[in-house]
Structure formats: C-alpha cells, structure tokens
C-alpha cells in the first residue's frame, strides 16, 4: 500500500492536494470527516462527509410506541437531551391537547436551562481545546459537573435524562435540588467572570476569533442555520421568543445578538446565553408553583388523532423540531427530527472557502457541532 504523493505547493500554483480531516481527528469531536482540498494551507474546498454514527432514529420512531421512543430523544444530541425530549413530548401534548401542570412546566424550564448551560460549557471547553488551550476545558467541566450532579439526583442519569413525560415530568424535584441549583447559580456568575478574564479578554484568543469565519445573515437564512449561529449573525431568532412554548413567555430574559457574524460573535452569544439561562433559572426558582407534576387523564394507551403535529424548541445548538405524523395507531406513521447541527454544518463548505486550516478549525468549533445530532 503506497500512500498518495504528498506535495505542498506555494499558494496560487493551482496545484492542490486532498487532506482527510477525520473521521478520527482531534478537532472533529466525534466522527465527522472533512474532505479538504488544500492549496498549501489554504482550503479551496471543504466537503463534510457525515453518516458515521447514523442510527436511523426516524425509523425507530416508526417501530415503537410513543412512550418507547422517549429514550431515543435523549440520544440524538446527548448534550441537550432535555430540550429534545421537550420537543417530542411537546408535539404529543399538542396532539392530545394535554394541559401540563404549571409546576411541571417550571421544572422543565429549570432543567432545560441547566442543560443549556451544561451544553454551552462543554462547547466552551471543546472550542478552547480546538484553539489549543487545555485548561479552560477542565474549568468548564468542573462547573458542568455541578449541573450533572444536580440533574442526576433528580433524573437518575447524567446525560440521557429521559425525564419529561407526556403531560409532565417523571418525578417531582426536592429541596436538595432547589438548594443545589441556587448554590450553582451563585457559583456560576463569578466563574463566568473568571472565564472572561482567562479566555474572552485574552489577546491570543481575540486575534484568533475576531473577523475569522464570517457568516453573513443571508447565508444563515439560506442554509437554515439557527441557534447561536444565526444570533451571532445578527438575527434575534430564538424559538423561545418567536415560537413560544412551555412557560417561557413568563420569564424576563434577553436574546443575545451580535451582528458581526464572526467566530467571536458566536462565542459571545453562547457566553451571554449562559448568563441569560442563569437569569431564567433564578426567576423560575423564585416563582416555582406548587401542585402536581403530571397531568391528569393521560391515557394509558397513547393514540394520537390523525394528522401532523410539530413542536420546535430552542435546543442548545438551535432549532430542534419534531414532526409526528399519526394515523390513529399506537405507533406513529412517521417521526421527523429536524436537528440544528445538520443545518449548521451544511453551510461550512461555503463559509470555509479560502480559509486557512487553523481558522477553519476555529470556524468548525464555533458552530458547536454534535455529530450524532447530524447523523441521527
């Protein structure tokens, strides 16, 4: 077996070589493969190749009852399991017209926002790892561990929570969780200041991110990019605000928007979102109503009326939507999962053209991809 000849030509010579970044590569966070056509260190074409962790969740959805599909929702994007479960139970609740008790909705908001913070913390660490800084990763994981401990205590699992049920949540939360969450909110604010001192203000990081990988709003729109990607390009698109679900309208929070569209803008959006999520959690803790956590009258045998039911949520990476097509049977006719990482990655080819390799990796990191979320 002889490897293809590897030659590096000066830029502009027109002679290119193919560089396989992945499927096993430190910067692809899983099993994404980028087929890079390189001109020296400049990328002339970057073609993402996905499907390495394709599990066909949509087919599984057609083969099992609604309640049996719930565990799957935690495993599509394992970093924002709460949001994904929320979308699925949301679609079913819409179809059945179930009224979820307010306490359950508040618990959902608290857990969802904690999940968002933990997801952003993973991104923060992994992004810095892409940029060659290892220490912030471990600081972020230390904070994330606090969230995982809290969520594990109430859900019994650290990542694949499977905590929401049709018409409510699985168990009620206890005082220890409330105390722990308050303590976490109190702890997180100074930690954010530490992150800003160590990372955000750092001149090396600023030089690596400011102006790098600009994604114009128009590009986001045409590719359907959502979440921090579109918010970093100047559109205040947040499903929690534009298509309100659960009890989000009752909370006072801002949607961070930066118009620059570069990697720094996306970085800032996510860091600000941690702050905003803390605000929401604080408010929800303050106003947490008492009462039941599961709706009355959820049928034991769940059959949806015929028709199509969609529910979208703002997951940590953007808009996640479930479309259930029902034909009145116990199992759905079709379950469509619209995942944010899929659309966010699809613009990479166009956005990375002409970039240098390290910048493209910064861009890739700033998109915050979870590969199983793309491959499903």
């Amino acid at each position: 077996m002889t490897p293809p000849p590897a030659t590096v030509q000066a830029p502009g010579s027109g002679e290119t070589f193919l560089l396989n970044l992945g499927p096993q590569h430190p910067a692809t966070h899983g099993v994404l493969r980028l087929k890079l056509t390189m001109d020296g260190e400049y990328i002339t074409r970057a073609e993402p190749v996905c499907g390495y962790v394709h599990r066909m969740h949509e087919k599984m959805g057609e083969n099992r009852k609604y309640a049996q599909f719930l565990p799957n929702t935690s495993r599509i994007d394992y970093l924002s399991a709460m949001h994904y479960t929320h979308a699925f139970v949301g679609a079913v609740e819409r179809a059945l017209g179930l009224a979820v008790p307010p306490r359950a909705e508040y618990i959902r908001v608290i857990t969802s926002e904690l999940n968002r913070i933990s997801s952003h913390l993973v991104w923060f660490g992994a992004f810095l790892l892409d940029l060659g800084g290892f220490t912030p990763l471990l600081y972020a994981f230390d904070d994330r561990e606090q969230i995982l401990d809290l969520l594990e205590a109430i859900t019994g699992s650290r990542l694949t929570y499977c905590y929401y049920r049709f018409g409510g949540v699985c168990h009620d939360i206890d005082n220890a969780f409330l105390e722990g969450t308050r303590a976490f909110v109190a702890r997180m604010r100074p930690r954010l200041r530490l992150y800003h001192e160590l990372v955000t203000d750092n001149i090396i990081l600023r030089n690596r991110l400011i102006g790098i990988g600009p994604i114009p709003l128009e590009l986001c729109r045409r590719y359907g990019a959502t979440g921090p990607v579109i918010r970093g390009s100047g559109a205040a698109y947040d499903v929690r605000k534009t298509e309100p679900y659960s009890v989000y309208p009752q909370f006072d929070f801002d949607v961070p928007v930066y118009p620059e569209g570069d990697s720094m803008a996306r970085y800032r959006v996510r860091m600000d979102e941690i702050e905003q999520s803390l605000r929401i959690v604080e408010q929800a803790l303050e106003r947490l109503p008492s009462g039941p956590v599961r709706a009355e009258g959820v049928p034991r045998v769940l059959k949806l009326p015929a028709g199509e039911f969609c529910c979208a949520v703002e997951a940590a990476r953007g808009r996640f939507a479930v479309r259930i097509v029902s034909d009145r049977r116990e199992i759905p006719w079709r379950v469509k999962l619209r995942t944010p990482s899929f659309s966010n990655l699809s613009l990479f080819e166009e956005a990375s053209r002409g970039m240098m390799l390290p910048d493209a990796i910064a861009l890739l990191g700033s998109l915050d991809l979870v590969i199983p979320d793309i491959d499903r």
Partner: protein
Amino acid sequence: MTPSPEQIARELASRFPPSPPADAPPPAAPALASTGGPAGATPAEGGAAEAGTVRMLDYARCGCHLEAHVQPAQVVAAAALMDQFGFALDTITGLDWLPAGRMEIVYDFFHPHATLRVAVRTRVPRDQPDVPTVSSIFPGANWHERETHDFFGIRFLGHPGLTPLLLPEEAAFHPLRKDFTG
C-alpha cells in the same frame, strides 16, 4: 417588514391554483380553506388533498401556521416565493403514503424575524418519485434533499450531487419507505 400569514396564504393561493381538469372551467377564485384541524392527511386518505389547496392551520394544535399543496413542478417557484418573503429553509422531508401509492415531500420554512411557520407540500407517484431540486434557491436544501433521497428514494432532478449523505456510500435501499424490510 414581516408578512402576515394571510398575506402569504393569498399569494400562495393565487400563484399556485389547482390545476384545472381538462374538461372543466377554471375556478373563479383560488381555493383558500379556513382555519382547519390538524395538518396533513392519514395514510388511508394519503394524497387526497389536491394541489392548489392552501390551508390556514391551528398553530397551537399542530405547530404550523399555514400549509400549501403545490404541483411537483411548482416547488421551485414556491421556494422562490418563500425566499422573497424572507423565509429560511427549515427542513425538507418525505412521507410515504403507501396505501395511496404516493409519496409526499414537505418543505418546512421558518421566518428568522417573525412567528411564522409554513409548510409547502407536494405529492408524487410512488413508482416515479421525481421532483425538481430547490437547492438553487436555498443551498441548504442540498443536504436535506440528499437525506430525503437516502431515506425515501425520491429523486430531486437537477440536484448537484444526489449521493448518499447519511447512509453508506454504496447504499441502494431506502429505509423509510413503508415497504422496506431490513
């Protein structure tokens, strides 16, 4: 400037009227159904809604404001219209209505600045599932169409590279077809 659902519905209805049967006079006004129940159809009646129907939907119930059925040949024009209105492409997916012998392609759109969700639908025969690509208008459609081709075998004519995206490179099967057996 964000359009209202009614405005979009009127525009869609007037641009994509039901195709008149050969021996019938064209309808006087475009069909615009009022706020209806759940979107879509069931397998039994799959494909019953005629192209040209535009329906306002109960958002609280089915998470969508508006759905429009168009002819397969009209999807590019419909996508261009949505583009003009400033919509973003949410997703493209297929539905296999095996009992009715048809397949449906659903184009979902969301608006980056407004609370507005629109679904454009078209139906093709199962034995010849061809539909033009909209990737020239929404480049993001490229991947969604590849995925839909993977799962349903729907052919998007004019697509720049309809190779498997999520399935293995040599995959010649379409797992979400209802007659697919592992």
